[in-house]
Symmetry: C2
Subunit: 201 residues, 2 copies
Amino acid sequence: MGRRSGSKGASTAEAVQAAARRLIAARGFAAVSMREIAAEVGVQAGTIYLYIPDKQTLLHALMREHMCALLEAWEAESALGAGEGASDALERFVRFHVGYHISRPEEVFIAYMELRNLSETNFAEIEGLRGCYEAALRAILERGMAEGCFRLPDLRLTTRAIIAMLTGVTTWYRAGGRLSAVEVADHYADLVRRMTHAATP
Amino acid sequence: MGRRSGSKGASTAEAVQAAARRLIAARGFAAVSMREIAAEVGVQAGTIYLYIPDKQTLLHALMREHMCALLEAWEAESALGAGEGASDALERFVRFHVGYHISRPEEVFIAYMELRNLSETNFAEIEGLRGCYEAALRAILERGMAEGCFRLPDLRLTTRAIIAMLTGVTTWYRAGGRLSAVEVADHYADLVRRMTHAATP
DNA sequence: AGAGTAAATGACCGGATGTTCAGTTGAAAG
DNA sequence: CTTTCAACTGAACATCCGGTCATTTACTCT
């Protein structure tokens, strides 16, 4: 046997990433073997190594691409609200975060659960990207305190509290469930507003 | 070789659990081998099977004991505040949850990260215990709405939002860091109060 | 001192793991 | 039609895995 009919290198490379994303999100990096990923693609195990050097690099690539896409998406969303006050910026962030995380449950799951399976160097890079994202929210909160519309017990703690609260949506939200994605975002925005604002309207 | 001097069965059984807890919390269930756990105890791999039937049972026992201890600790704490209003009960819950989770980072990490490595039956049991704990907070929020002191966008969503926000403390809190455990609990209590109360005082 | 037993060893089983690579195949280029 | 080459196979490698078990050792009881 050798090359199969209709096979293309570029699409196989993408299929490997997609299969890895699906399987790792469902069962965990350490519990998924390269042979399982290959089988999901419909290819032999050796083929995977034509597109990635090793398993660790595969995980790192998945997480890196997710974090970069998240940061780019937020920059684009943030640009839409240029010039708006901290209060509106915060609501924009909440709706963006909830919406984005709901729409990419696999990537989010991997990014939050597989950090400890990264090598030291790779971990440092992903952690850095996560820090950038956190800094974006922190900047909004900082601005709100300067503007006088927010009152927070502690800036860093509140930043992390909000992100943890919002990201938690991925553990229970299911499309077609009791609440729509918009309703969910509405509710979280409401909670965050009351948690941060100096005076409740 | 055979039995080593000074060895006792009961203490070895506990040492196996402790070693498993440490290693699984640090590197994940699937990434830790029975041989590594045995080495951490200072014993050969076969010895572990004198105390547990298999690896799955070991994970289940760790999670079960953690969840039962958590529920019992909350029942004891809750009894201390018998008769108090929903507002005080909520603050008591927040302080308890933060304090308990800070003091047992390994168990918490395992309970939240290794759910997917449980067999179907074991998962159902642990998920049931988690549901009990969630129900305890939900009952407080429900009571507060009946009393008129809380105003929430959605009961179930708010319950999960609060738990996710509070549990997030385990990802960043370190003893001896910038904030003391009491300060951290103070801040979270403040955030939750403003998030839930009908009017901010 | 001798018997009995609890505690632990260490070799072993079948199978899975990440990774490599010489060889095979299909399709495009001349 | 022949050459060329990217794409893929399938077997092999060394190592590790969870789990079993006959055997050995240390302690206790009589």
